[in-house]
């Protein structure tokens, strides 16, 4: 369902439209919240942020909006997760809200390091894709979504044992591919 259809549905049947919007963007919102809060919060905190984000989104979505829903939703969840990040950091005692630098978490990071990581991430993703399914799915669920074998098993339809086996073999292949790439670059 595209954004226009979702917005139209919200206008005609808010209950259904809200659910459609949620279903379409749940994954996206969850991933952003997870990525921002995984180091400071529990799974509960991440879910709390997702719930807060969607509550805001669904209550305030402008059905006449011209731009895409994704940019609006992305903005809401990022703001919510930054806010949650601060609260959680404050709770843990090692974050000062008065600190100017803390207002933009991203700005704390070294730009060059980030660029390098982005390049590595793109390369890694290519190699993960090349593994084919279900190995690529397993790797992403394990290392990005941080799910365990049992959860991955439920998603992929494999058994946890198979997930573990495949994961270790996939990891081995990933290592080989990365090493090969790295060696090729060095000798180029």
């Amino acid at each position: 369902m595209n954004d226009s259809e979702i917005l139209q549905m919200i206008r005609e049947n808010p209950s259904k439209g809200h659910r459609a919007l949620f279903d379409e963007y749940y994954n996206y919102v969850y991933a952003i919240a997870l990525n921002n809060l995984r180091n400071v919060g529990t799974k509960d905190d991440i879910e709390d942020c997702v719930i807060d984000s969607f509550t805001d989104i669904l209550l305030n979505v402008d059905t006449d909006r011209a731009d895409t829903l994704k940019s609006y939703i992305g903005t809401v969840v990022k703001n919510k997760s930054i806010s949650a990040y601060r609260s959680l950091k404050k709770r843990s005692g090692d974050f000062s809200l008065d600190d100017e630098e803390s207002r933009d978490i991203a700005s704390k990071e070294d730009v060059a390091a980030k660029a390098e990581n982005n390049a590595l991430a793109a390369q890694l993703l290519d190699h993960i894709r090349a593994l084919g399914e279900p190995d690529s799915e397993i790797i992403i669920h394990k290392y990005f979504y941080e799910r365990n074998s049992a959860e991955i098993a439920a998603i992929t339809g494999l058994s946890p044992a198979a997930v573990r086996l495949r994961c270790s073999r996939a990891l081995k292949r990933l290592r080989e591919k990365f090493t090969k790439d790295h060696t090729a670059k060095e000798s180029a």
């Binding site: 994954n27 952003i32 709390d48 992305g74 190995d135 979504y145 198979a162 086996l165």
Partner: protein, 819 residues
């Protein structure tokens, strides 16, 4: 890239664009988690719409966690009940685990409360008569219900637990001034027909507790509201808050028992078809119900939970703790001390326990007398008469093993014969035959038949085993001097085995036998196999008694698989004795495994795969497949017989077709190394029929004979199998596997895995994450098996091609199926 940590760091630090790509390509969408989260979103939206500020909505979760802060004030009552009106720990859904369970997904429970109701009762076409009955008798449609409503009064909550006689209701409103609490105007708690209410008088800041009469909540009692069928009609069927509802319009004079203050029944209602409850109602202007669409009064359920979806309705003990805070009038709250008839157990299953709560003599006597039915294997270490022993039995293989630690004597019974192996202290034969009937372990004969000679003492534990302790009087007809004392024996309730015996002489308790270690079935240590014993004798240079033939240690066990473990599924033995090899050793196993493809041309099998964790039985998974293989023509067809898993696989000509029967599409893949192997599918790599569980074993482990052992024989589907046990280290944890190999064809017919796993879930009561150590059980088993001429007509590549075309499946070119 050296290790997993690097992958994690790279992905975690990815930019937004990469995250977008990942989430689009690899959705992490878990429907059950998503449903649960959406319900929370709805609740927060409802709360915000009722006047709460944004901060207070998100604060509800945090405030719930800070519940202690509120205990000293009226808000304490609000806090616990607000847990029922807000985000609800005690009163919310999600069965045994509120939030994320890290194990395999919790399957949704249909609302089947055992009262004869289930969703399948809802007819395709809803009639007025049916709907009237459904609504009138709504209380018979569920045992527990928890429902939140938004109305003109504020936020209302109603909870009912009919099994325990609990009814709870609250009415609360949001406060403009306090952002993180709700003001309760009224609360009613009924337990076993006694009721107290908490009321905040108009204008007062706080409330008090008063005695009251039990009330029927209107939401659960409609009486004959819809009896006059001519006054209302069904105008539609809608989904409302994920509930299947009939929409009716009512127009009739009279007083509504549901909406106070109205004198006309003029409203539109959404009736939940499962429970018969009103989930949404709009009361219209009296004078122009047909045209005036502005409702004067509305009531909307924001969420509803029924039966298994309801966690505990507030129990009386916990309610009393809070009620006492407001009990200025010193009302007698002792009625809340009565224990629940049916305590809530979030992990309970509906299965009958094997061991009853009340142990009777008859039950215990039978348990002991027929104890071979209670377990497959038992391994125990004990002391008796000043010596230390090991004894073990394997009921399936018919092995009895006993060893004296001090004297190093072994007794071994198998296939109707018994030998004793003595230490090599002399030149006399050390391996001698003894009467097998004298080696009776756990065989108590008629010892417990005379119930008058013994009594059961209160249940007890012995070496961490649940036991019954019995006090035995001497037999009146037994004149032996050493049988005149009273004995106390501890009987393990699971197996019916005596694990300790004491005698009471002159008031002194003296031990006769005391078990120090006791293990059953999978936790039992490996019992020496007949082959192990034979090897021990040969390698140890023991002198065998003249005329003693040890070939009985090679034979097939005479014991049939009439044990509590899985039984052969009725298939008659299709093998003749001449098919069966006399000796099975590791070399033999390696050989048949590697050459299994030469041992048959066609195969038809039905398989089951089950996966379970004892502490979360609701997440059990069972998959059923039918497999057809034709080696000569090089094709394999795997059909899913599992509900909600409509995926079939057809392999031919080095290509694999993945058939989605639900969406009627198929995809064709080249059969590359590993890319297509799936746990529940098979592969014809190198013409080898196997499942993924065993693939690595065949390829990597089988050659290393030190890592696995043959532990016995068994039958699966009437086929004689060698049972192999092996261990694997993965992620620094040890996993143990058992495999049943058809000793003629070399096929894997059964596989079991019992591995330790850890997962975490959110404990509602403790309000924290709990990590659970559990055992994961996986079993693959062939339940029906036919080879070659016995196979039915198998589905050919041409058949598949025709089927996909005739049924309008969408996909790529399938001409390779005609080659």
């Amino acid at each position: 890239m050296d290790n997993e940590k690097e992958i994690t760091e790279i992905l975690h630090n990815a930019d937004d664009k990469t995250i977008e790509n990942i989430t689009e390509e690899f959705p992490g969408y878990d429907k059950k988690d998503a449903d649960r989260i959406y319900r929370e979103v709805e609740k927060r939206m409802a709360l915000r719409n009722s006047g709460e500020s944004a901060d207070s909505v998100s604060g509800v979760e945090r405030y719930k966690k800070n519940i202690v802060r509120r205990i000293a004030t009226i808000a304490a009552c609000i806090a616990f009940v607000a847990a029922g009106t807000g985000t609800v720990y005690m009163l919310s859904k999600s069965g045994p685990s509120k939030s994320s369970s890290s194990i395999a997904a919790v399957t949704e429970n249909p609302s089947d409360n055992g009262n004869g109701y289930s969703k399948s009762d809802i007819p395709e076409e809803i009639t007025q008569e049916w709907l009237y009955e459904r609504n009138k008798n709504c209380l018979s449609n569920f045992t527990r219900c928890s429902i939140f409503l938004k109305s003109s009064n504020g936020i209302e909550y109603y909870g009912i637990d009919q099994e325990n006689g609990i009814k709870l209701s609250t009415v609360s409103t949001g406060s403009e001034d306090s952002h993180d609490q709700m003001d309760i105007k009224h609360l009613s708690y009924t337990y076993q027909n006694k009721c107290v209410e908490y009321i905040v008088p108009s204008g007062a800041e706080g409330g008090v507790l008063i005695e009251s009469e039990p009330k029927d909540f209107p939401i659960f009692n409609y009486g004959d509201l819809l009896a006059d069928l001519s006054s209302w009609s069904i105008v539609g069927r809608e989904n409302y808050i994920d509930r299947d509802c009939a929409v009716i319009q009512v127009t009739q004079p009279g007083e509504s028992p549901f909406f106070s203050g109205t004198d006309v029944l003029n409203f539109e209602v959404y009736i939940d078809l499962e429970t018969g409850l009103f989930l949404k109602a709009s009361v219209f202007n009296n004078e122009s119900p047909a045209t005036d669409t502005s409702a004067e009064y509305t009531l909307e359920a924001t969420s509803i939970y029924v039966d298994d979806d309801v966690t505990e309705i507030q129990n009386p003990k916990d309610f009393k703790l809070l009620a006492e805070q407001f009990n200025e009038n010193n009302i007698d709250l002792s009625f809340l001390d009565v224990p629940l008839k049916h305590p809530f157990d979030s992990t309970s299953t509906k299965e009958e326990p094997a061991i009853p709560d009340n142990i009777t003599k008859d039950w215990l006597s039978d348990r002991c007398k027929n104890n071979t039915k209670n377990f497959d294997k038992c391994y125990m270490e004990y002391s008796e008469s000043g010596q230390h022993w090991i004894k073990a039995v394997d009921n399936k293989s018919g092995i009895i093993y006993r060893k004296s630690i001090e004297s190093d004597v072994i007794d071994y019974a198998y296939n109707g014969k018994r030998i004793s192996i003595w230490p090599k202290h002399s030149d006399e034969p050390q391996v001698i035959e003894n009467p097998v009937e004298n080696l009776k372990l756990f065989d108590y004969g008629d010892r417990f038949d005379d119930l008058s000679l013994w009594d059961i003492m209160p249940n007890t534990q012995y070496i961490d085993r649940k036991c019954a302790a019995i006090r035995c009087l001497p037999r009146p007809d037994d004149n032996a001097d050493d049988n005149k004392d009273i004995m106390v024996q501890y009987i393990d309730l699971e197996t019916g085995i005596i694990v300790a015996s004491f005698t009471i002489e002159n008031g002194t308790t003296l031990p006769i036998m005391e078990t120090t270690s006791f293990h059953v079935n999978d936790s039992a240590a490996e019992i020496p196999t007949p082959q192990d014993i034979k090897k021990l004798i040969a390698d140890g240079g023991y002198i065998v008694e003249e005329g003693l033939d040890l070939s009985f240690l090679d034979g097939v066990p005479n014991v049939t698989a009439e044990t509590p473990a899985e039984k052969a599924t009725g298939a008659e033995t299709t093998q003749s004795d001449s098919d069966l090899p006399a000796e099975i050793d590791k070399d033999y196993i390696v050989n048949i495994l590697n050459n299994s493809h030469n041992n048959f041309n066609k195969l038809y099998a039905k398989t089951n795969v089950t996966q379970s964790t004892p502490k979360h039985p609701q997440s059990d998974i069972v998959l059923h497949h039918t497999i057809q293989v034709d080696w000569n023509k090089n094709y394999l067809y795997e059909i899913s017989n599992t509900e909600h898993l409509d995926l079939d696989t057809f392999v031919y000509n080095n290509k694999l077709i993945h058939i989605d029967k639900e969406d009627k599409v198929y995809e064709v893949y080249e059969e590359t190394d590993e890319a297509l192997i799936d746990l529940f599918k098979t592969t014809i790599t190198d013409h080898r029929f196997t499942s993924i569980h065993f693939r690595d074993f065949l390829e990597e482990t089988i050659a290393n004979k030190d890592t696995w052992s043959i532990t016995g024989r068994d039958t699966v589907c009437g086929r004689e199998c060698a049972v192999i046990r092996y261990k694997e280290i993965h992620d620094e944890e040890e996993y143990t596997y058992t495999a049943h190999i058809d000793i003629v064809t070399g096929l894997l017919l059964k596989y079991t895995e019992h591995t330790p796993i850890k997962y975490s879930f959110y404990d509602d009561k403790k309000q924290c994450e709990e990590e659970v150590s559990d055992i994961q059980n996986i079993t693959f088993e062939v339940t029906e098996l036919k080879y070659d001429d016995d196979t039915p007509n198998l589905t050919t590549p041409a058949d598949i091609h025709k089927y996909l075309i005739d049924n309008n499946y969408k996909g790529e070119d399938l001409s390779f199926l005609d080659e």
